[in-house]
């Protein structure tokens, strides 16, 4: 009997040894807190499950719609998860300066520079001042999104004889054409639980990049150009051209603020179509009706620039930052795992995932549209990171959101911008 036990133990030890050198994490619990729920939660859990299998650790993911609020409570009280996934680098920078984040292992910055496309910019976006004022790499970018996309149903365009517009003027003309044909061009929804309003900030950023040179955008993001500058107010009003026009938006302008952003694309697929166009980032196919084949049932085109403004082809993007909020060997190992091509390819094979990782095998993408997204990225004359995500948390994950909800509700752009600037002044 004892022999059998011993033999069993030896076999166990052997198989554990074969499972990989990292299996010293066996039994350790690693908690991950992020903003993803629903289909995206399943995706991230698939990635974490692969890590759990490789390392033997017990990995738990919890998602929340109110990530931005909950993370503050948890870090402040010292009960945060091991690793937190920030949708906004600005919020991560806030927490880093208050000493709630742990700098990533030495050498991570060099790794990112070497293995990510435009590596230096990803390092810069993840480098924040710590509590002592010294700069360190705190954030690791995993999963990026292209935001300047307009989604549509090609068959609906075919039925109605519409063409994909090449310029903003054409896009507006197409919208008018759809209205004239008795349809509704746009589905816009700003609802997102505690983060309600963020889809509108993307609109404003995209339109600012299309009406002003990128220097204005950069100045606006770090508030050298105040929020209530006429150029910014004009960009907000440009968003109003679409969102505050009852004829342009499915359900009327009043429905914009109350429609959930995850529900709003469903109007593209209804019979008869509630709308023909939906501006949203590359992750949105995760919320299309079940069975939708991206590239055939639904497709996208680049949110075009004004032909008359000589500003090239600006592209807006974003990404999620993984940072260690409660240091442990497991947390370090998880960040290490995210560097592997395997970690990227698992999610690539699913939906709504882009990566700047140069080493991945692009043939594993779950849908064929990725090449097109890559082209949009490559053809960009200007690439800018989502501005609201770079602003301080109180603005980019606060006043800007609520301001845009107020704007969609009928407040004037000037009043909204004044209020956001006042909130920003109060933070300084």
């Amino acid at each position: 009997m004892k022999h059998i036990l011993l033999a069993g133990a030896a076999a166990l030890a052997l198989s554990a040894g074969m499972a990989g050198a990292a299996s010293d994490l066996a039994g350790e619990q690693i908690t991950v807190f992020g903003p993803w729920l629903g289909p995206d939660q399943e995706n991230v859990e698939a990635v974490l499950a692969a890590f759990a299998e490789a390392s033997g650790a017990d990995v738990r993911y919890v998602g929340s719609d109110s990530f931005e609020q909950q993370i503050l409570v948890d870090t402040e009280a010292g009960s945060a998860a091991n690793v937190s996934v920030f949708p906004q680098p600005g919020l991560a920078a806030d927490l880093a300066s208050r000493g709630f984040l742990t700098p990533l292992a030495d050498g991570t910055a060099d790794w990112v520079r070497e293995n990510y496309a435009a590596g230096q910019s990803w390092v810069d976006l993840g480098t924040y001042a710590g509590p002592d004022g010294a700069d360190d790499l705190y954030g690791f970018f995993y999963k990026v999104d292209v935001k300047s996309l307009v989604w549509y149903v090609p068959e609906n365009f075919e039925d109605a004889g519409y063409d994909v517009p090449e310029s903003m003027e054409e896009l507006i003309a197409l919208s008018d054409q759809i209205v004239a044909d008795g349809g509704t061009p746009w589905c816009i929804g700003l609802g997102s639980g505690g983060a309600t309003g963020w889809p509108a900030t993307d609109w404003v950023e995209d339109l600012l990049l299309r009406t002003q040179p990128p220097e204005v955008y950069d100045g606006w993001v770090n508030n050298e150009i105040p929020f209530n500058d006429p150029r910014i107010v004009a960009a907000i009003d440009e968003f109003g051209v679409f969102a505050r026009n009852d004829a342009y938006v499915a359900g009327g302008a009043g429905a914009v603020a109350s429609t959930d952003f995850r529900d709003s694309p469903k109007g593209l697929f209804s019979s008869p179509p509630q709308c023909y166009l939906h501006r949203q980032a590359s992750f949105i196919p995760a919320f299309f009706p079940e069975g939708t084949v991206v590239g055939e049932d639904a497709d996208f085109f680049y949110f075009p620039a004004f032909a008359e403004q000589d500003l090239g082809k600006p592209v807006l993007g974003a990404g999620t930052v993984w940072a260690i909020t409660n240091d442990s060997a497991g947390a370090q190992a998880l960040i290490e795992f995210l560097k592997t091509t395997e970690a990227n390819e698992i999610w690539m094979a699913r939906k709504g995932f882009l990566t700047p990782h140069l080493g991945v095998d692009t043939s594993v993408f779950g849908d064929p549209t990725l090449q097109k997204m890559n082209d949009i990225l490559l053809n960009a004359t200007t690439f800018r990171f989502d501005g609201s995500d770079l602003m301080p948390g109180g603005i980019g994950a606060g006043a800007f959101w609520t301001g845009m909800v107020d704007y969609a509700g009928g407040k004037s752009a000037q009043d909204v911008a004044d209020e956001i600037q006042a909130a920003w002044d109060a933070l300084k």
Binding site: L37, G63, A77, G191, P272
Partner: protein
């Protein structure tokens, strides 16, 4: 004689407003209950009040993909059915373009844009034929206007309560909520009953001041204490968990509990208590043998209050209970997250909401006579 007439007209007004109020409160609940037994398709096309009647829906469906075509009698043919047989659904109009989604009647033979023709029967059987092979990878879109018979299903409840693979399910959260709620109701009542007796019937210096302090505590907003208290919990090693949530609920519930129970106990007849004292009863005996049985309505009504608060609580659970393992999530938190991800899936929302309100409803109906008596606690002497 006048008075009697006036009274009757007033009674009518009272009855009508009571009826209106009852309707106002009952309809949303009834709507939730009905919706929780309907399918997603049905909810999106008609209101719950129309659930007993057939509904008309516009659907976008696809015929079989070109790879399913067969070659017969010189024609390439794709045949199939859009619905399960015997589904009872009946197509009234159909179309093959999103611009003309109701152009044709069932049985019409219609040319396809890319050559060939298609026909669709009222029961959903379609047949596409073409001299050339069909190409592409997706089936032809068919827009149908279909009348579906009323349909009720238990699948929502099965999904929400009994599907272990559903991470948005309610079963675990339901047990967790019970785990929070029951101790969080019993502990404060136990403590408050003792404290209330002492404050009502035991003479000691500073008693009035102590009562004033407790009344003062009633107005302290609990939000003030959230983060400092959580820090304290972390420092003394409780961390986030059930114990912390029980303590927090107890602390936040005690001022009202003591105040309510003390006011009730003060109103009990002094003679009984003095008689007991004269007969040599100890304070503890007076408390357990006389005060507790007499205070039952007040205890029960506070228990109902506290139970409902803790059952419906989200804030305290988020701060003190739900840790990053996700093992201790409660129903309110589940529902809040559902609102985000499943904002349009009313069948899931309604079912989850009904699971969540079922227990409070039971508690309320079982104990409502005490609630009314207890509401008067201390107000009438």
């Amino acid at each position: 004689m006048d008075i009697a007439g006036k009274k009757s007209s007033l009674t009518w007004a009272v009855h009508i407003s009571v009826l209106l109020l009852v309707a106002l409160w009952l309809f949303p609940t009834l709507g939730l209950l009905v919706s929780s037994f309907r399918t997603a398709d049905q909810i999106s096309t008609s209101g719950w009040w129309a659930s007993m009647f057939p509904t008309q829906q516009n659907l976008t469906l696809r015929a079989g993909a070109p790879e399913l075509q067969v070659f017969e009698d010189g024609l390439y043919v794709i045949e199939g059915a859009l619905f399960e047989p015997d589904s009872g659904k009946e197509i009234s109009r159909w179309g093959i373009s999103s611009r003309a989604y109701d152009a044709y009647a069932p049985g019409e033979i219609v040319p396809l844009n890319k050559g060939g023709e298609i026909t669709l029967g009222a029961g959903g059987q379609y047949r596409m034929s073409n001299a050339e092979p069909f190409t592409g990878s997706r089936g032809q879109r068919i827009f149908v206007t279909v009348t579906s018979p009323p349909e009720f299903t238990l699948r929502n409840y099965q999904n929400v309560l009994f599907d272990p693979s559903n991470r948005e399910g309610m079963a675990k959260a339901f047990l967790n909520t019970l785990t929070v709620t029951i101790p969080a109701t019993i502990i404060p009542i136990l403590i408050a009953a003792f404290a209330a007796y002492a404050l009502a019937w035991m003479e000691f210096p500073g008693r009035a001041l102590l009562i004033a302090a407790i009344v003062g505590l009633l107005v302290v907003p609990l939000q003030l204490a959230l983060i400092p208290l959580l820090k304290l919990h972390n420092e003394i090693g409780i961390g986030k968990g059930y114990l912390g949530a029980w303590l927090a609920h107890t602390g936040f519930g005690l001022p009202l509990a003591i105040y309510l129970l003390r006011n009730y106990m003060v109103g009990l007849p002094r003679d009984i208590i003095e008689n007991a004292r004269v007969d040599g009863a100890t304070e503890f005996q007076i408390f357990t043998k006389i005060i507790l049985p007499l205070s039952f309505p007040a205890l029960a009504s506070f228990a109902i209050f506290q139970f409902l608060w803790t059952w419906n609580d989200l804030l305290v659970a988020l701060v003190f209970l739900i840790d990053s393992t996700g093992e201790t999530t409660v129903m309110t938190k589940q529902i809040v997250e559902l609102l985000g991800t499943r904002g349009g899936n009313w069948e899931i929302l309604a079912t989850s909401a009904f699971v969540s309100i079922a227990v409070p409803l039971l508690v309320f109906f079982a104990m409502q006579k005490y609630l009314v008596r207890g509401l008067l606690a201390g107000s009438v002497k």
